[in-house]
Symmetry: C2
């Protein structure tokens, strides 16, 4: 692992790091904010998975999470959204290929070679974080935005007990039922929809997966709400499964970081409450 940059911020260190990933077969870049802490102390970890077109940089620059994480003593990890590099295949659309890994392990050519974001986020990066940072991996929370909200929900649902706290900003709640998801899942996994279910939060819940509880914020003025995000499907799935979900529709807010940053401190506080020692 190599440090790309380190900036003191909000009484902690905002770092950017790169490493050679075995999961993706590429270099991968991610950011980590570490609050000041007592020598030897281990801090809880909050994962933030980003949305379409984003890298680690978007939330790192615009997310307004550092003040809240410094206050609560939480490490904040922001991975990239796909493998990158000249030998990584891409698509002309912004919603597939680079910047759009959808947190799956691709099985279809030519994507299967590098697009193993599920393994990267579920297995490889956590091991690296545990080895390189003062992280208490028994206290992890996960959140994300849009495609990253989908990532946070599905990863938490498939790994019961790993995350004490789960939240999302404007998540894609059922990729099987929206154009973004249909395109990505077909491309990465093939046409057999049975292979899609483990990458669909609503299908995972329907198939028996559970979360301890859940916080979701969703802007009512979000252009993608009705065609792509379909928050109502998650509300119904949680209700049916008895998952206590706090889903807040936020009047006037859109899909941008102006929305995310507005509610970031509340999400961090919500995770902090559940990540206490």
């Amino acid at each position: 692992m190599e440090q790309v940059s380190a900036n003191r911020s909000h009484g902690g260190t905002q770092g950017v790091y790169t490493h050679q990933s075995t999961a993706t077969g590429t270099a991968m870049t991610f950011s980590v904010f570490v609050p000041d802490h007592a020598p030897g102390a281990k801090l809880p970890v909050l994962w933030y998975l980003s949305g379409l077109t984003c890298t680690h940089a978007n939330v790192t620059e615009k997310g307004e999470f550092r003040a809240a994480c410094a206050r609560a003593g939480i490490i904040f990890v922001a991975p990239d959204t796909s493998p990158r590099g000249d030998d990584v295949p891409d698509d002309e659309g912004y919603d597939f290929g680079k910047g759009a890994g959808f947190y799956v392990n691709a099985t279809q050519a030519p994507w299967a070679t590098h697009f193993h974001m599920r393994d990267y986020i579920e297995t490889e990066l956590p091991a690296l974080i545990a080895a390189e940072f003062p992280a208490d991996m028994a206290r992890q929370g996960i959140t994300g935005h849009s495609m990253g909200g989908h990532g946070a929900l599905t990863i938490a649902l498939r790994n019961p007990g790993r995350f004490r706290s789960v939240s999302a900003f404007a998540p894609i709640v059922s990729p099987m039922h929206c154009q973004w998801g249909e395109k990505a899942l077909t491309g990465y996994l093939g046409a057999d929809e049975n292979a899609w279910r483990e990458y669909d939060a609503c299908a995972l819940i329907e198939d028996g997966a559970r979360l301890p509880d859940l916080l979701v914020d969703q802007g009512e003025a979000d252009n993608f709400l009705h065609e792509q995000l379909k928050t109502g499907l998650l509300v119904m799935a949680c209700r049916k499964a008895g998952i206590p979900a706090t889903v807040r529709m936020q009047p006037g807010y859109d899909h941008s970081y102006y929305f995310i940053s507005s509610f970031m401190a509340e999400h961090v506080a919500w995770h902090a409450e559940r990540l206490k020692a």
Copy 2:
């Protein structure tokens, strides 16, 4: 004035606007955050002047001012740092020409045609803000970063009584005594240093100008501290003039928005205290 964008954020509206400026003879873009407020209510205004290479966008995206401004009920105005456009002359350096207006009225060719940032910030834009936004122009504060800190200090010093509160992040305190300033003042104003003094905070104080009080944050790990910013000159000038200046050297912090955003909420609170009705 035309609205470029409007995003709901932190319980207010973050807008970006463009208008045809008579001061610069170009289109100028700026951003304004307006917290929610009672109909007919007028809110105090905090000006933020940006540094070299920046537009309105840097602080708007990375400044982390909205939560604090929403809490305090303060309008936050972020202008551009120079005229822009194909017919505006430029320099190869990042520290002169476009993105580097230094808040002066240029007198030298070819800059004198468009580079009237002093008139733009001191006269034209305030009139537009007063006309178009629910702004109480009797309650204004001003701050800025680096070149924008220089702008904030010099504009406040030249306009006694206009600003109830003045602060700066890592300001250039004496452009007459650093390479950035010498290049810019020579280029925009010519070689006669007498013409420079009204654009130099330390010289203005030496010549009798005063501020009510002052808050400055300066990172100790700022690469530009010793060669360009020279905070100590301002400390000495204020001490000699009896200006109560709170100048805080912040260990480990650099010149970036990771530094600015760390202390933004404290600056907004400091202005809010002085801008109360």
